[in-house]
Amino acid sequence: MAVVSELRGGVFSPDGQRQSRPTKIDFQEISKSFRSGLNRTTVLDRVNLKIPEGEFVSLLGESGCGKTTLLRIAAGLISPSRGKLAIDGKPISKPTREMGFVFQQPVLLEWRNVLENLLLPIEIFGLSAEEYRPKARELLQLMGLAHTENHYPVQLSGGMQQRVAIARALIMNPSILFMDEPFGALDAITREQMHTELLRIWSMSGATALFITHDIGEAVYLSDRVVVLSSRPGRVKKTFDIDLPRPRVPEHRFDDRFVSLCKDMKHCMTQ
């Protein structure tokens, strides 16, 4: 945990000013349109966005605003129609080992037990599963899943399955963590538990996080910055710096600052 405080300590200087950090993900004039029949639908329109290394950034917008498309472009899963995307200053065309993914659904392989699911990326990257087994167990421990390593996905609740998915995303120590509404399918109580869990494990990883949500409270609670996207076509409407102290605790949700940030964002979204 000492490492963690060092990592997080780098974010703010003693006088509370945000220090400039190298850009991790750089969206430059990104546009994306899809063709359906004779129509062309513009999903993203000239999005400019710089995500600094180690930050937790949420993309907030209504459904259909192109936030998932933006994430898929950042991950190299699809290419933009126009514009450039750079990670660590280099253009990207396909997903790399540097990236961890958590999707809306846990997407576990139902014929593999929890430990085997965690080791799937290791196998695909051609590394020794044996070597990573201790690391996988450690992650399970961190996620409170130590007792489930031999369980199959069908035996786990939705929240536990999504925890396995998060652990799987972290097994390779990714420098970027992409999360596409990972808690959307969970009930409110489980979701709040997952927020705490995610922040704890993310702060230890030091990874840059790009998180997609349509839930304002979730965005504010988790993020260093929230980027509000407009709908049809998707544009960056406004960026909010979240200056709530870390580590975040559930009480922050009733904080005046928290509430006023939520109000501002709600106002911005409905404008």
């Binding site: 991950a75 899963l77 396909k94 997903p95 790399t96 080992r97 990236m99 993914f101 999707f103 659904q105 997407v107 392989l109 139902e110 014929w111 037990n113 799937l120 990326p121 196998e123 695909i124 990257f125 996620m143 409170g144 007792h147 489930t148 369980h151 199959y152 069908v154 035996q155 786990l156 609740s157 929240g159 536990m160 489980t190 538990q193 705490t196 869990e197």
Partner: protein
């Protein structure tokens, strides 16, 4: 750690679980099956004696039993069973292997699917047993034509189930593999094949029972050995009790093969039999 959910308990609370009725317990099921069996035998015997049927038309269960024991002990039924079983097993293996292999090739290539699609359908619609006479013409009275007919019958359920299984992989899981930059081969071996296995096994279960039909009908058309050939002989010699004894053998063979498939399947999919915790 207090916020962390505990694993859903695997034991269901007694109060919430309805008590198992006696006929659903394993002893209850056996008793029930035996009772039905005895009742059927009694009805059968009663019918034969009331209608005063000749044993040539319908022998009593007791006569069938006598013939079964006699022909088992003198080695006739076991000997012919070995021939039929050989045909079943060889035909089943041949048909399954070719069916799965062709299914894999077809599933992997859109071009092959488009090209072969209509012919797969046409050959599936064609009754394979109707080919038995020509097989005998081509390959004689040995086991070869029966193996081929059995293989043809087993081939189609496996071809079709393999294609369906391999092409209905979840899009979410495919996206995960793409995000992990998995190669086409890795996606095939680690994702498409395992998710297709339940469907392929369903095909195997269908095929194994069809294999018995294929071998026996093949023997009807022309053979000097095998349980099917023996049925034709008993038809000529009016040895109806022996014919019934052969039916018993064939049924037992079918059940045993089916159960073997089920056992193989359950060792593959231990995770499927696990009950959900909550």
């Amino acid at each position: 750690m207090s916020s962390i959910e505990k694993a859903a308990p695997m034991i269901v609370d007694d109060e919430t679980m309805p008590s198992t009725p006696w006929y659903s317990t394993s002893l209850g099921r056996s008793v029930l099956a035996l009772a039905v069996f005895i009742i059927l035998l009694l009805l059968w015997t009663a019918y034969v004696s009331i209608a005063k049927l000749s044993p040539l038309v319908l022998p009593t269960p007791y006569r069938v039993w006598q013939s079964l024991v006699e022909n088992t002990l003198n080695g006739q039924l076991p000997e012919h069973s070995v021939t039929t079983l050989t045909e079943i097993v060889l035909g089943f293996l041949l048909g399954s292997v070719v069916g799965i292999a062709l299914g894999v090739i077809t599933a992997r290539s859109q071009l092959m699917r488009e090209m072969l699609g209509p012919y797969i359908l046409a050959s599936q619609a064609m009754p394979k047993l109707a080919l038995a006479p020509i097989m005998v013409v081509w390959m004689g009275f040995g086991i070869a034509p029966k193996v081929v007919i059995t293989a043809l019958i087993c081939f189609f359920p496996l071809l079709e189930n393999t294609i369906i299984g391999l092409t209905s992989t979840s899009t979410h899981q495919l996206e995960l593999f793409r995000a992990l930059s998995a190669t086409g081969w890795q996606t095939f071996i680690k994702l498409r094949v395992p998710s297709a296995l339940p469907v392929i096994f369903a095909g195997l279960r269908v095929a194994v029972t069809l294999a018995v039909v294929g071998a026996v009908v093949g023997e009807y058309v022309g053979a000097n050995k095998g349980l099917g050939a023996l049925v034709i002989v008993t038809q000529g010699s009016f040895d109806t009790p022996l014919m019934f004894a052969i039916f018993v053998y064939l049924t037992v063979i079918g059940i045993v093969l089916y159960k073997l498939m089920q056992m193989l399947e359950s060792t593959f999919f231990s995770w499927r039999t696990i009950k959900r915790g909550d």
